[in-house]
């Protein structure tokens, strides 16, 4: 069950340029959430900005009753968010949406994340490991600093292969290039992917070519987050007659359902 909660903030700090980690107590939420779902976060008590902001569950630890969000400051809402003080409250709604489909038995899984696309993959990695899957992650970002989340994966025993645009960590280039050259690609059962659309398009293509089952996570601007306003509409394939709602039918979709034609 989704709920409206005010969680006490346990920690809130900048972890990389423009990127913040926000950890708060929300036991019911942490228990009920599944990877790939998101929260609608209120960024200000006033009416400007008015709407909540969708932020993925970076981590949800049922035992500790703690939820962590990882967010990048891009506009007014996220910039106000940085001002929330430790011990203060954060007003969230969720968990929302259809998350990633977990395998029924252990599999060989590759996570592929670009930029803030790494955010929903940590919680996913945790659950996959819990289910006994073998999990590796390829993570791309502008530079080494912005790959801060890499450590968190390593701590879960998920090997992290970095790619950076400036070459400051790992291979230089794009994460999809690393994937294309990935030696074990043919042994991979599943790919879960999140990041810029151009990157997800490239990853989907590779998965299709290698016949690998895959899921990806989409974004659209949202008002309600619960499927009521029909604002976050998206045509999954160019010829479709109906629009899916990212907040309710997604944000996660099977790669085979989606034809990405919107470039970032």
């Amino acid at each position: 069950m989704a709920r409206l909660e005010k969680g006490i903030i346990l920690s809130h700090r900048q972890v990389a340029p423009e990127i913040y980690s926000l950890e708060f107590a929300a036991p019911a939420l942490a228990r009920e959430a599944s990877p790939g779902q998101f929260l609608q976060v209120r960024t200000s008590p006033t009416y400007d900005p008015l709407l909540r902001r969708p932020i993925s569950l970076f981590d949800a630890e049922a035992e500790r009753g703690v939820v962590t969000l990882l967010y990048r400051v891009v506009g007014r809402g996220t910039s106000l968010l940085t001002e929330l003080p430790v011990d203060g409250l954060v007003d969230v709604m969720g968990p929302l949406g259809r998350g990633f489909t977990l395998p029924e038995r252990p599999e060989k899984v590759l996570l592929v994340g670009g930029g803030m696309g790494l955010a929903p993959l940590l919680f996913l990695g945790r659950m996959l490991k819990q289910g006994g899957s073998q999990v590796k992650i390829l993570g791309g970002a502008a530079d080494a600093q912005r790959l801060w989340a890499g450590n968190r994966f390593e701590r879960l025993g998920i090997s992290f292969s970095p790619v950076t645009v400036d070459g400051s960590a790992g291979r230089q280039g794009l994460v999809a290039e690393l994937l294309a050259d990935w030696p074990e690609l043919d042994q991979v059962d599943r790919i879960y992917c999140c990041g810029p659309e151009a990157m997800m398009a490239a990853v989907s293509k590779i998965a299709r070519e290698h016949n690998i089952w895959g899921e990806l996570s989409l974004e659209e601007h949202m008002a309600c987050g619960v499927g009521a306003c029909l604002g976050c509409a998206r045509l999954l394939q160019p010829g479709d007659t109906g629009y899916v709602k990212i907040c309710k039918d997604g944000p996660v979709f099977n790669m085979s359902e989606v034809q990405l034609f919107k470039l970032d």
Partner: protein, 312 residues
């Protein structure tokens, strides 16, 4: 004095032109889906009424995205009336609401008088509908929609056509995008409206300066939220003395103080739209807040303060 206030019996029920509401707080069409979407957050059967997403005779897939954009203390939407059609609504979505004993108000939009009449006739046969809100003001449907709501003559005709097909209470929803809202309201009353719903969204737009084009694929969208509250209040205040039918007021209501402003301007009941997105429990909180206010002020029935701010 104090003790007298405590003893007062608060009657929150409202008769909105024949629509029996448990309390004066409805949720606005298009902002609450078909109710089920919000069931995790509040007891939807405790709401005054659920006005469901606008329906059309045939299914509609709506406008291409982007459909929404945030603005200062408001938002623009151009959903384009995406809906499964009135029959699917009645068969697939209505039963849930009926089972929950929700006061359901259908919201219908047509491209022609015949569309409206046909939907009214169809809904007449569905049990569990308390009233019909006529969306004659949706700015997102290119054909028909806007015209109906901005021309007094057409407003009268569409209300009359619908009334001829149904015994359900009929409540046209007025567009604020007009020079003379009183003329429109009077025309609706003359056409036989049982109540008025005021206001729908203001027509607006936003521009993406990076792409040098409108943000919304539909170019224009409807402005809702706190930004429009002053305009909504003004129109209700103007219409209240000019008609003899009750008004469902809305436009930017976020809390019970806002709701009380609308009531004092002349609204017999109120609707919460965009507010649901910001706080999915606000409709319930607003009803509680109105009740608290009545107790504190010793007001037994809301009728005592409907239009109380009107200066004569």
């Amino acid at each position: 004095m104090e003790s007298a206030k405590q003893d007062i019996m608060i009657d929150l029920a409202v008769d909105l032109g024949g629509i029996a509401m448990k309390n004066p707080v409805a949720v606005a069409s298009g902002t609450f889906g078909y109710g089920k979407e919000y069931e995790d957050y509040l007891d939807i059967s405790a709401l005054g009424a659920v006005i469901v997403k606008g329906t059309t005779l045939e299914p509609r897939s709506g406008n291409p995205p982007p459909r929404i954009v945030e603005t200062a203390a408001g938002m623009l939407n151009a959903i384009g009336l995406e809906n499964p059609g009135v029959r699917a609504f009645a068969q697939e979505y209505l039963p849930y609401l009926v089972e929950k004993k929700v006061t359901v108000i259908a919201n219908v939009a047509g491209n022609s008088l015949e569309d409206y009449a046909a939907m009214a006739a169809y809904l007449q046969g569905c049990s569990g509908i308390a009233g019909i809100e006529l969306n004659i003001s949706c700015p997102n449907v290119k054909k028909g929609g806007l015209q109906f709501g901005t021309d007094p003559h057409m407003v009268k005709e569409v209300v009359r056509a619908v009334k001829a097909e149904t015994s359900l209470p009929v409540m046209p929803k007025l567009s604020p995008n007009v020079t003379d809202i009183v003329a429109i309201a009077r025309a609706a009353e003359e056409g036989g409206a049982d109540a008025l719903s005021m206001i729908n969204t203001l027509m607006g737009m936003a521009i993406d300066i990076r792409a040098r084009r409108p943000v919304l694929a539909n170019i224009f969208g409807g402005l809702s939220g706190p930004a429009i509250k002053p305009v909504a209040l003004r129109m209700i205040y103007q219409v209240f003395p000019a008609v003899n039918i009750p008004i469902l007021g809305g436009g930017g209501i976020m809390n019970s103080n806002d709701a009380l402003e609308f009531i004092m301007a002349g609204a017999s009941a109120i609707s919460v739209g965009t507010g649901n997105f910001v706080d999915p429990q606000c409709a319930a909180e607003i009803a509680a807040g109105i009740s608290d206010y009545m107790v504190a002020q010793g007001i037994g029935s809301l009728r005592e303060i409907v239009g109380a701010a009107i200066q004569r």
